[in-house]
């Protein structure tokens, strides 16, 4: 297969205006499948989570999974969609062995959710509104593994293995309206959009949202048109782009490829494209024309799904706060800078900080503990910070001990180690390890005198107003007291002794 010619992204952007569109498939994490009572579990031995319905045996009938409908309505609401009062399933007819019935039960002209939008915040804070055309329910297909051929394709394979465990897993397909005006930020927007969908379904608890397992799968549509032209260009659809980075790269590549095609005076072919992570390119898949005829008709084995307004409102009331709004609210409440907040989010400790603040710590103290002490330890232990074993209560207690001056920061760090080693509560560890700060000024004054005597030149500098030199004396005192002194108190006493205003 000859490599496609591409234009540089910058040149493509100079000449053309990209229009995007996404179809994101979300696998729901319901206990059972969309239309059968077989378990919906990932990773089990092939063809173990199937019953006669999933295998499409003669005589079987589907039954709609109510939990899947609930999840679909929640997704629709989170995407600001209208929820259909009544909607039907339809059969999408095509012969392919991953679909046991040789039709997929899906929704066609009556999606459960429609006409929504999602505001996507790009990294620099720009907000871009993506219009949602529809979100509809359907069933996943089985998984085919083609053996003996090239590149794992069915063409040229000796035989194919099929695992129907995935057949019938509930899916919600979220389809955007054409996204115009993204310009050179199109690849970035693509990534941010899919990330936002993933975050929303995870936050709703309706999907495990693990892209590496195919819980969230993206088909990316790209077309280009000359600047100023209203009519859309011919699009390509890059299938199964299954990581956030890949979404960004695939959109970027397709823009560059389309630009080169258009520059050569050729029309873009309407087709599906396959994404190749290794080369970060796409290759031609199946020609997709409007002649594809799935002979949709209403599924006669199912009655319409009726979503009463009361039910929809009940579900709306259970929706968690949207992730983007929550982030905005917390950042304001905590008073973190943009950078601080981004670090907290990237470190994955936003939830933990929220809990710690709720347990009684200040926002700054919570951040200090999580970012300064726990994230590093978690990295060493190769676990998520929240899974390290430090409860918000522990942090509140530790922080209280420091603020009361009972221990200093250095000791606190040791106490934390003690907590993680299972030695008890912070107070117990302070007691057991004898870590109390020396708060009697007597021994401190002796140590200060000794330190000043040992470094007379430094003492002179301080007296002369160079207060910043005090660190050397404080350090001497801390060394002499083996770190058990309260550094703040030591500083005060030194300044007092030398008659200098801090």
């Amino acid at each position: 297969m000859s490599a496609d010619t591409i234009l540089s992204f910058e040149e493509a952007m100079e000449k053309y205006d990209p229009v995007l569109g996404f179809e994101v498939h979300v696998e729901l994490n319901t206990k059972t499948k969309m239309f059968s009572s077989a378990p919906n579990v990932f990773g089990d031995d092939p063809n173990t989570n199937v019953n006669e319905v999933d295998l499409g045996l003669p005589g079987v009938l589907p039954v709609v999974n109510k939990a899947a409908v609930e999840s679909s309505i929640k997704i629709g609401l989170a995407l600001n969609c209208k929820i259909a009062e009544s909607c039907r399933f339809a059969r999408k007819n095509y012969f392919y062995p991953d679909t046991p019935k040789n039709f997929q039960t899906s929704q066609y002209d009556e999606p459960i959710a429609y006409d929504g939008y999602l505001d996507i915040e790009l990294e620099d804070g720009t907000v871009f509104r993506v219009e949602i055309e529809r979100a509809h329910m359907e069933e996943d297909a089985g998984k085919l593994t083609h053996m003996g051929g090239a590149a794992g394709r069915i063409q040229g394979a000796d035989y194919s293995l099929v695992d129907y465990n995935r057949a019938g897993v509930p899916l919600v397909e979220i389809v955007t309206k054409p996204i115009e005006g993204a310009g050179s930020r199109a690849p970035e927007l693509a990534k941010a959009y899919v990330a936002a969908i993933r975050e929303i379904v995870k936050n709703l608890g309706v999907s495990d949202a693990r892209m590496e397992r195919g819980n969230v799968r993206c088909d990316a549509n790209v077309s280009l048109r000359p600047h100023g032209q209203e009519r859309f260009g011919i699009r390509s659809e890059t299938k199964n782009v299954n990581s956030l980075r890949a979404v960004e790269h695939a959109v970027r590549f397709e823009i560059q490829r389309h630009a080169a095609v258009l520059d050569s005076g050729q029309p873009v072919i309407q087709e599906t494209r396959h994404w190749h992570e290794d080369t970060r390119t796409t290759t031609s898949g199946r020609a997709k024309s409007d002649a594809d005829d799935y002979r949709y008709f209403p599924e006669p084995d199912l009655v319409p799904v009726v979503a009463s307004r009361e039910w929809v409102e009940e579900l709306r009331a259970t929706l968690p706060e949207p992730p983007a709004e929550r982030r905005k609210r917390l950042k304001e409440a905590w008073g973190y800078s943009d950078l601080e907040f981004r670090d907290v989010v990237n470190a994955g400790v936003m939830d933990s900080i929220e809990e710690t603040v709720a347990a009684g710590a200040s926002a700054s103290a919570a951040r200090k503990w999580w970012m300064g002490e726990i994230v590093g330890r978690a990295k060493t232990a190769d676990v998520d910070p929240a899974e390290l074993g430090v409860s918000p209560q522990t942090i509140v207690e530790l922080n209280g001990l420091v603020e009361e001056g009972k221990i200093n920061n250095k000791m606190a760090s040791q106490v934390l180690d003690g907590v993680l080693a299972g030695e008890g509560t912070p107070a117990e560890i302070v007691e057991k390890r004898g870590l109390a700060v020396v708060s009697d000024d007597g021994p401190l004054l002796e140590a200060i005198d000794a330190a000043l005597a040992a470094q007379p030149d430094v003492a002179e500098k301080i007296r002369g107003g160079k207060v910043q030199a005090i660190g050397a004396i404080v350090g001497g005192v801390m060394k002499a007291t083996r770190g058990q002194a309260d550094a703040g108190r030591v500083r005060e006493l030194i300044l007092e002794k030398l008659g200098v205003e801090g």
Partner: protein
């Protein structure tokens, strides 16, 4: 012990009474039917599979429970120990299910249809699986891949279809009861031409789970029997809500037997459907139909005439909706997971070509005809004109029924326009074959219940004529109420059941017991 020839002619209700009274055992009854099957099914070909061993085991179990007495005996279902035959479109564990097609030859279902679970719960011995037009597509059972079933009234004639096997089995005293399925008349039309009773319940009254789908929005499982009461008894066994069938109704249908037992038409309005008699109906059929009207009038019913002007479009609309659903429902028969697999004789071995070769070899002409028709009707650009228009007609037919039932409690018509025709007579003329269902199709299109019962013999050919009763959806009890009255009036007139007039089937010289009974 009753004489076996007498035993097999008893109604299911009478058999149940004798079993309950201890006059006869279920093993005796079941064996009598198995013997009858062995004796006559070589000529009738009603059975595709005989389930002798399991049937006798269930019978013995019932007998043991009865003999032991006590609570377990008390709890036995009224029909416990009464044998039954099952149309081979309904899946059963332990027996093959073929749907009358080569594509499923030798296939055994790993699960039971809901109606089969109910038969097992009632401990009714299942005698075997009955013949049918392939995937229930036909009106003569000639489209079975396993040879036609013959009409016990005249072995040169068709037993109707698609459920000719079930109707013929009951008519030939090879079973007291049978299950059928009715998509456009497949229970009622065979009932009409074999002099038996057949009921298509309200759509959703009986679970379809495990009935191999032909046209999902039209299919309905129902009872086949020799008396109206027997059908009522059987519908109460198999009916009721099934969570595995989303289209099944939650209404209780528990008043059917009572309705059949207390039949009474005094003061009822019975509507003749203007469009479903007269032109196109055989004279002998019209005569018997008019005779039934007179009897009902004498019994106190008021006969009114209603018009259902859109019924004339029913056949056309049916032959768009049904094949459309067929084209999709039968897509799963592709040789990949179960049933026949045929490899292409030459050329590349691709999945498409294996599927194609399998379907080409496994499906018969009528099935292919309907798949092609339906595929076309659903195609982009044709959908609105064909499937869409047909759905509109369906709504109009429902409205015709609504209007008719505003004027009458029950509607009445001949079940089929003619008596049984000769084997082969219409095999090469699909449109003529389709016309057999002109009177039965409207009920399927509207989901309303219909019952066919014997109305006597046509003067010109001495063959059975069927009378069809139709009631509003969920009012199946009305069919049994009126049906039981008409049945008793007619039997009074005939001096006994119509089937008493059927010619005796002679056992062939060869001992068929080994060939039929041994096929298990």
């Amino acid at each position: 012990m009753t004489d076996t020839n007498e035993l097999i002619r008893l109604s299911a209700a009478d058999l149940a009474a004798k079993l309950s009274a201890g006059d006869v055992t279920s093993v005796e009854v079941t064996q009598a039917y198995l013997d009858r099957i062995a004796a006559v099914d070589g000529q009738v070909n009603a059975f595709l599979h005989v389930n002798a061993e399991e049937a006798l085991a269930v019978a013995a179990e019932v007998d043991a429970i009865r003999a032991a007495g006590g609570a377990a005996a008390e709890e036995l279902h009224e029909l416990a120990g009464v044998p039954i035959a099952v149309k081979d479109l309904i899946v059963t564990i332990g027996q093959p299910t073929t749907a009358g097609s080569k594509i499923l030859e030798g296939w055994h279902s790993p699960y039971d249809a809901t109606v089969i679970k109910k038969l097992r719960a009632a401990k009714m011995p299942i005698l075997g699986k009955t013949n049918l037009d392939e995937f229930a597509m036909g009106s003569s059972t000639e489209h079975s891949a396993y040879g036609p079933t013959r009409n016990p009234w005249d072995l040169e004639r068709i037993p109707g279809g698609s459920g000719g096997g079930s109707a013929a089995a009951v008519a030939a005293f090879e079973a007291p009861l049978a299950l059928g399925t009715d998509t456009g008349g497949s229970i009622r039309q065979p009932g009409a031409v074999t002099g038996t009773v057949g009921v298509k319940p309200t759509y959703g009254a009986v679970s379809r789970y495990g009935a191999i789908a032909m046209a999902s929005s039209l299919d309905q499982i129902g009872p086949v029997s020799r008396t109206v009461l027997d059908s009522a008894l059987l519908q109460e066994v198999i009916g009721g809500h099934d969570p595995q069938d989303s289209t099944s109704l939650t209404d209780p249908f528990d008043n059917l037997v009572a309705a059949a037992r207390t039949g009474n038409v005094e003061g009822m309005k019975i509507g003749i459907i203007k469009e479903l008699h007269g032109e196109g109906y055989q004279a002998g059929v019209e005569n018997r139909f008019n005779e039934s009207l007179e009897l009902l009038k004498d019994a106190g019913a008021e006969i009114v005439e209603v018009s259902c002007p859109n019924f004339k479009y029913a056949l056309g609309a049916y032959y768009l909706i049904m094949p459309s659903e067929v084209s999709s429902n039968l897509a799963k028969f592709d040789g990949v997971r179960f049933g026949l697999r045929v490899l292409p004789k030459e050329g590349p071995m691709t999945i498409e070509r294996v599927m194609g070769a399998t379907r080409a070899a496994g499906f018969g002409d009528e099935v292919k005809r309907r798949i092609i028709l339906g595929t076309y009707a659903l195609s982009a650009g044709y959908y609105d004109a064909y499937y869409g228009s047909a759905q509109k007609v369906r709504t109009l037919i429902q409205r015709d029924f609504d209007a008719a039932f505003a004027q009458a409690d029950v509607l009445i018509s001949p079940t089929a326009p003619t008596t049984a025709f000769k084997l082969g007579e219409k095999l090469n003329d699909p449109l003529a074959m389709y016309l057999n269902d002109v009177a039965t199709i409207p009920a399927n299109m509207a989901g309303v219940p219909g019952l066919s019962l014997p109305g006597g013999l046509a003067d010109e050919d001495g063959l059975p004529v069927g009378i069809q009763l139709l009631a509003p959806a969920r009012e199946d009890a009305r069919l049994y109420r009126v049906g039981a009255v008409l049945e008793s009036l007619l039997e009074e007139k005939w001096g006994g059941p119509l089937l008493d007039r059927a010619p005796e089937l002679q056992a062939p010289a060869l001992d068929a017991a080994n060939t039929v009974g041994g096929s298990n």
